[in-house]
């Protein structure tokens, strides 16, 4: 019975735009040179919820994530077709400057990549860049707020002038999250943010993701199905460049509709 209900949810969400999803992707095809990495993806991402993208390696989930803030632009001979919109504005065809887009859509990477600068300067990088703070006090305040939201403030408040690269792996990743939220983005993209971390650091980040959901729309790529189940409200399963199935996380893991989803989550491949 619940299966049918979810089924209904699923269809309404993907076919009607009335519920105003934060991000809409329609017929998205991505090519790296001649090879096609994503095939006609249709996906809605709701505001203030965590959407996780799962699937075996090379299935295109990271590629899709990088389409959402146009980070694929940096890669040579990568072409994106179709329509992706943020709050109804087309990301690719409306003359939107990718630089402005990335100020609204932050990103956290697989490997923690703090700048080789002090902890303070790492967080202050975005606000300084975009001129969103007018004086030193505001900047201090912004740095503290971002670090507090990332749950890192108490650990680093006494050594803000020390290099960010001197922190532990988990702290570095939270520093990167703090850096991303310091520019007040609307959406945060996370590309396997815990894959380089130990279980305790992972638990902290997952907790953090859950808190951040109140303010931000979060899309997370993960290899760990447990992680997807723990942190996300919606899950999308990618396989060989196709979006196989998307739905409420609980529903997708308990009663997948597609055989491939079933196979992946029960560990038959991937």
């Amino acid at each position: 019975m619940s299966y049918a209900m979810d089924m209904q949810n699923y269809t309404t969400q993907s076919e009607t735009a009335t519920s105003e999803p934060k991000i809409m992707a329609r017929d998205v095809n991505v090519f790296y040179g001649p090879s096609q990495a994503l095939k006609s993806i249709q996906l809605d991402i709701g505001a203030n919820e965590v959407t996780s993208l799962i699937g075996p390696s090379g299935c295109g989930k990271s590629t899709f994530l990088r389409c959402l803030n146009r980070m694929n632009d940096v890669i040579e001979n990568c072409t994106v077709e179709g329509r992706i919109s943020l709050d109804g504005v087309d990301l690719y065809n409306s003359g939107l400057d990718p630089v402005l887009l990335r100020a609204r859509v932050g990103m956290v990477f697989q490997k923690p990549n703090p700048f080789p600068k002090s902890i303070f300067d790492n967080i202050a990088y975005g606000p300084r860049l975009h001129g969103t703070v007018s004086n030193k006090d505001e900047l201090d305040e912004r740095v503290e707020k971002s670090l507090r939201r990332a749950g890192l403030w108490d650990e680093v408040k006494d050594r803000l002038d020390k290099p960010g690269t001197g922190l532990s792996g988990g702290q570095q990743q939270r520093l990167c999250i703090a850096r991303a939220i310091a520019i007040n983005p609307e959406v945060i993209l996370m590309d396997e943010p815990c894959s380089a971390l130990d279980p305790i650091a992972t638990a902290k980040i997952e907790e953090l993701i859950d808190e951040l959901r109140e303010r931000f729309t979060i899309v997370i790529v993960t290899h760990s199905m447990q992680q997807a189940a723990r942190v996300s409200q919606k899950t999308a399963f990618f396989h060989l460049g196709e979006l196989v199935e998307v739905g409420e996380t609980d529903r997708l893991f308990t009663s997948p509709q597609d055989d491939r989803t079933q196979g992946y989550i029960t560990g038959r491949f991937g």
């Binding site: 980070m71 990477f109 490997k111 700048f115 990088y125 690269t165 990167c176 520019i183």
Partner: protein, 460 residues
């Protein structure tokens, strides 16, 4: 010639040692039930090293000390026959004996005593050569047999061979260090002699450079004044002009090549730029003297400026062009090695390409860039040829780049060209200048390294 034959004999024994040693190990591995400790070639190397190295060391030691022993023998014979001989006469006589024995030119007509001394000398040399050959080959053969005998499965041949190899590597690195130390000391001793003749502070703070001194007492000549300030001022002026040209051009081209240029352009431009570094400095020199300097002089006249036909500007500019590839190529490499993840992080924060370059890539690459600039700078300070040809020899104390200046290196060249006597202040001044130049570049490098270490942004 004879030494060469001996050397080849030892080489042959060494190769033989390798083959026999390895052969014995092969035989052992076939028969013995105990597995060999090391892999087969190590047993060959073990034998070969024993055959070759000690004999070579004996040979080298013999060749260093034997001539001295032979000369001492001649000297003692001479002192026996003529007790009143002075050390100077003695050394001249020995020289003649050695020259006669080897068929060289003598300083006197050979007499009977000289001839017999020369005969004795060459006889001794011959005997000693045969003795050396016998000892070296005997030792080599002995080592061959004992080390072959020692080969058994428990022998740790690899450890021993590796130990010897590591010692050889250590000696190689010592050679470079000892050479540096030796050069510095020779500079120091000659410089101390110079300061016996010229007061230290006159040299360091004097503003007049005119090194011509009278060689003989009856000669008319300058009394000589050795103020190094004009030379260092000239060096600094030319280096400054050079860096003003090279740093911006080099850095901008490095940024373009590493961040903006396409792969194809980079693959083409980088080697071409490096060709600039391969042009001999003499060629740059006459380019500066024959093309650039006249051009500056003529454009100067058009503008109503008097530009000397040998000017600091021409030399500095051409030197700057020469230095560009040092800065651009090295900086390009360090900027390229800044991890992509840092660029991604910056782009993902909404930074533009130029913001990413100025705020992330250049700070991260700064130690390398400073290193490149330093390397270029010491190249510029030490550069001689361009300056000799294009900047002139006049030791003017001036900050005007349109005048002729001279540099430390140019003066060292002119001081040491031609006939010299090594107790005149003029010649010794070259060593003092060399030492001072060495100290200046050393201090510069140390300071810059400290600065870099302090401000470097580490990434992993």
């Amino acid at each position: 010639m004879e030494q060469l034959a001996l050397f080849f004999a030892l080489l042959f024994l060494t190769v033989l040692g390798f083959i026999l040693g390895k052969g014995r190990a092969v035989a052992l591995s076939g028969h013995s039930d105990q597995p060999l400790h090391s892999r087969l070639p190590y047993y060959g190397l073990y034998t070969a090293l024993w055959c070759g190295l000690p004999s070579l060391i004996i040979m080298a030691g013999w060749m260093i000390f034997e001539p001295q022993i032979a000369e001492m023998l001649v000297a003692s014979q001479l002192r026996d026959s003529n007790a009143s001989i002075t050390p100077d006469q003695l050394s001249l006589y020995i020289n003649d004996v050695v020259n006669l024995a080897s068929g060289g030119i003598l300083s006197r007509e050979p007499d009977a005593a000289l001839l017999s001394a020369a005969d004795n000398y060459s006889l001794f040399r011959q005997i000693s050569y045969f003795a050396m050959a016998v000892v070296a080959i005997a030792f080599s053969l002995l080592a061959l047999f004992t080390s072959l005998k020692k080969i058994n499965p428990a022998l740790r041949a690899r450890n021993q061979v590796e130990k010897v190899v590591s010692i050889i590597m250590m000696i190689s690195s010592l050679i470079a260090i000892l050479t540096t130390v030796g050069i510095v000391f020779s500079l120091i001793f000659e410089t101390l002699r110079f300061f016996d003749k010229v007061p230290f502070f006159d040299f360091l703070f004097g503003t007049h450079w005119s090194p011509q001194t009278a060689l003989r007492s009856d000669q008319v000549g300058g009394s000589g004044s050795f103020g190094a300030i004009p030379l260092f001022a000239g060096t600094m002026l030319i280096t400054f002009i050079c860096m003003v040209v090279a740093i911006p051009v080099g850095l901008l081209s490095a940024i373009y090549m590493s961040e903006y240029a396409g792969k194809k352009f980079r693959a083409f431009a980088k080697p071409v730029l490096e060709v600039l570094a391969g042009i001999p400095t003499v060629v740059y020199g006459f380019f500066a003297a024959l093309t650039v300097a006249p051009f500056f002089r003529e454009s100067g006249t058009l503008l109503g400026l008097s530009v000397s036909s040998e000017s600091a500007l021409a030399a500095g500019m051409v030197m700057g062009i020469m230095i560009i590839p040092f800065i651009s190529s090295l900086s390009d490499d360090v900027m390229n090695s800044v991890p992509q993840s840092l660029r991604d992080a910056s782009y993902a924060m909404g930074a533009t390409k130029s913001e990413t370059i100025t705020k992330v890539i250049i700070p991260a690459a700064l130690p390398g860039i400073v290193g490149a600039v330093l390397l270029a700078m010491s190249r510029a300070i030490g550069e001689t040829m361009i300056v000799v040809m294009a900047a002139g020899l006049a030791a003017n104390l001036t900050a005007n780049p349109l005048e002729a200046v001279t540099t430390v290196t140019v003066q060292i060249v002119t001081l040491l060209v031609g006939d010299q006597e090594f107790d005149s202040a003029k010649t010794l001044a070259a060593f003092a200048l060399g030492l001072l130049l060495f100290v200046v570049t050393l201090v510069m490098n140390v300071v810059a390294l400290r600065v870099v270490r302090k401000y470097r942004e580490k990434y992993d």
